[in-house]
Symmetry: C2
Subunit: 338 residues, 2 copies
C-alpha cells in the first residue's frame, strides 16, 4: 500500500494528473504519452518559454504553478523520481517559441541528466535552451562532495520571479542570468517531526521518537545528517534563521520568506511559524518584500516545514508583486488591490 | 505536546491568527480581545453582512474565506471548541450594516449556543440577525437523536454561494432562505485512515490498523460508527457516492462536488480521488457545475478525505462562478478568463 488512497494499480501519478487537469481545465492541459502539462495561456511568440519538472510527491510544485506569470509547461516524474527526458522534450517543444526555452531544474543528478538529454535534442532541432539550476538547501552544503546543494523550497521563488521577468520580454541570456541570480540569492533549511509514508511499505520512511527532530531533512525523505532533541518552536526558528541568514550571499537587507509545509503540518502551525519568522527577521534588521505560507513544496505527507529566504534586489520587487494566475500560487497583494 | 510545532505556551491559535493576518494583510484584519477577523473590503452599507466561525483546527475554514464574494467577519474558537459569544458579537458588529447580519453556523451544540447568545444581544442593539445552519454530514443522520446532522465540508459551498448571493443586494430574509436551501441541498461523508494528532497527548486520537478505515468520521476526531476493512479506492468512492446521492433531496441532476482533504492527505491522492469522483458522477447521470479539490475543511492533520455534493439549481450557477477574492478560495474559471 503506497499511500492510503491510492488507485488499484498502485501508481498514484497518472490518476492525479488527470484529476488535476480536470480540476483546473481553465488553466492547464494534460498531454499523455509522454506525460506533460502545459499552460493554456502561454504565449511563446511573445516570451521565452519556461519549463520545469521533477519527481511527483511535491504538489503543488510544479504543475500548480502553470499559468500566466509563471510556468509554460512541466514534466512530472513518478513519485520522487526524475521525469523521462522525452517528457521534458515534449514539454519544451510546447513551451518554446522563437526566443527559446529555459529549464528550471532542481539540483538532483537524475533531473540534471534528463533535462540535459532533452536540451541536447532541442538544440538539434534548432531551439535555444538555457538551464537555471536551483540549489538552495543549506543542509547539503559541503566541500566534500561535488554534487552541491539540493534544490528545494526556493524553486517556487525562482519560478515566480523568473515567470514575471519573462513576461517583460527579456531575452534568453538575460533570463538565464537572472534565474541564476535568484537561485544564488536563496537558501533553505527543512525539519521533520515525522517521516512521510513510504510508497513501498505504507509506513513512515524513517522512525523518530516523539522528542526528536530531523534537522536538515530533504524533500524525498532523505534523512538529515542530524537528529536533534526537539527544541522549543521559538528556539528552532531562531536557529534556522541564524543559519539561513549566515548562508545567504551579501546583498540588500531585504528578503522574501517562504514558510513551507512538508505535507502533514497544519496551517495552524505554519501561520504560527510565520509569525515567529517575521519577528525574527525584524530583529535581524531584514525588511520583508513578501512571504508565502502554505504547503507548496512538500515531501508527500511528511510532518515538518522548511524555511526559505531569498535576498531581494530592488529591481526584483515588481516581479514578486506581479500576479501569477495559476492553480496554486496565492493571489498577490497587487492582484487583490484591483 | 499538542502539535509538533506549537508555541511555547502550547496554544497554537493566537500565534496562528497573528501569522495569518500578517500573511494576508491585504485581505483581512485581526482584532484581539475578543479575537475576531474581518475582511478589509467589506461593504455593510451595500449588502447584508455574513459572519461565520467555529472551532480552530479546520483551516482554511473560516478565516481563509474572508473577502469579496464570501465572508465579512469570523470568530475563531480554540482548537475544536466553539468561539465565545463575545467573539461572535464583535465580529457581527463589524459585519452588520442597515441590512443586518447572517450567521453561518455549523451544527454543533456549542456553536449553536454561542451564536445564539450573540444573536440575542445583537437584536437588543437593533441589529437584524438570521441563522443559516449547515448540517450536511450523512454519518450523523439518525431518527434517534434530536441533534441532527453535523456541519462539515458543505460549509465552504454554503459560504461561497451565500457570499455571491449577498453581493447582489438581496435582503436578509431572502438570503436566509437561500442559505437554508444551499445547506439542505448538500450532503457529505468523510473517511480516515489515520486519526489526527491529539492536542493533549501528541499521539493519534484513535488507533486504526493499516487495513482499516474509519467510515463516517467527524472533523473533530469523533470516531465513526463504523470501522471497516479498507476497500479499494475505486470501491470506496463508489460506495460513498452511492450513499451521498441517495441522501440528497430531489432536484436537478446537477451538482457541485468537493473533494476535501482532512489534513494529512496528499494532493496526489486528492486529485486522483477527484478523477474517480468525476467519472462516478458521469456514470450516475449527474452534470457537474464545478468542483473544489484541496484541504479546505480538515481536522488538524487527520489522514482522510470527505466528499460533498450540493444539488445545484440553475439560478445558483452564477453565484458559484463568481470570483471570491479571499486568502484560500481557489480562483474560479470566470475569474481566470479575464
Amino acid at each position: 500500500m503506497p499511500l492510503p488512497f491510492h488507485p488499484a494499480d498502485g501508481d498514484p501519478v497518472p490518476a492525479a494528473l488527470r484529476g488535476f487537469a480536470r480540476a483546473h481545465a481553465d488553466l492547464v492541459e494534460l498531454h499523455e504519452k509522454p506525460a506533460h502539462l502545459v499552460a493554456r495561456h502561454r504565449d511563446p511568440g511573445r516570451r521565452v518559454g519556461l519549463v520545469s519538472g521533477g519527481g511527483s510527491g511535491h504538489e503543488p510544485l510544479h504543475a500548480g504553478f502553470l499559468g500566466r506569470g509563471m510556468l509554460d509547461a512541466v514534466a512530472p516524474g513518478k513519485v520522487f523520481a526524475s521525469p523521462h527526458n522525452k517528457q521534458v522534450l515534449e514539454a519544451s517543444r510546447q513551451a518554446a517559441g522563437p526566443g527559446g526555452v529555459i529549464h528550471v531544474v532542481k539540483n538532483y543528478t537524475g533531473d540534471r541528466i534528463n533535462f540535459g538529454i532533452a536540451a541536447e535534442r532541442l538544440r538539434l532541432e534548432g531551439i535555444e535552451v538555457r538551464r537555471v539550476l536551483v540549489d538552495d538547501d543549506l543542509a547539503t552544503e559541503s566541500d566534500e562532495t561535488a554534487t552541491g546543494r539540493r534544490g528545494t523550497g526556493a524553486t517556487v521563488v525562482v519560478e515566480k520571479l523568473l515567470g514575471a521577468a519573462a513576461d517583460t520580454g527579456l531575452g534568453i541570456d538575460e533570463l538565464a542570468d537572472l534565474g541564476a541570480r535568484f537561485a544564488a540569492a536563496s537558501r533553505s533549511l527543512a525539519v521533520a517531526s515525522c517521516a512521510q509514508t513510504s510508497m513501498h511499505t505504507g509506513l513512515p520512511s524513517f522512525q523518530l521518537e516523539a522528542d526528536e527532530l530531523e534537522y536538515g531533512v530533504g524533500i524525498h525523505g532523505e534523512r538529515a545528517q542530524k537528529t536533534i532533541p526537539r527544541p522549543s518552536t521559538e528556539d528552532l526558528i531562531d536557529r534556522m534563521l541564524d543559519e539561513i541568514v549566515a548562508g545567504l550571499p551579501a546583498g540588500p537587507d531585504e528578503v522574501v520568506a517562504v514558510v513551507n509545509g512538508m505535507g502533514g503540518t497544519t496551517p495552524l502551525e505554519l501561520y504560527g511559524l510565520h509569525d515567529l519568522v517575521l519577528d525574527g527577521l525584524a530583529r535581524r534588521g531584514l525588511a520583508v518584500s513578501g512571504t508565502l505560507v502554505g504547503t507548496l513544496v512538500p515531501a508527500l505527507d511528511m510532518a515538518g516545514f522548511s524555511l526559505t529566504l531569498t535576498r531581494m534586489q530592488q529591481s526584483w520587487q515588481e516581479w514578486w508583486a506581479a500576479p501569477a494566475i495559476t492553480p496554486a500560487f496565492p493571489r498577490t497583494a497587487k492582484e487583490t488591490a484591483r
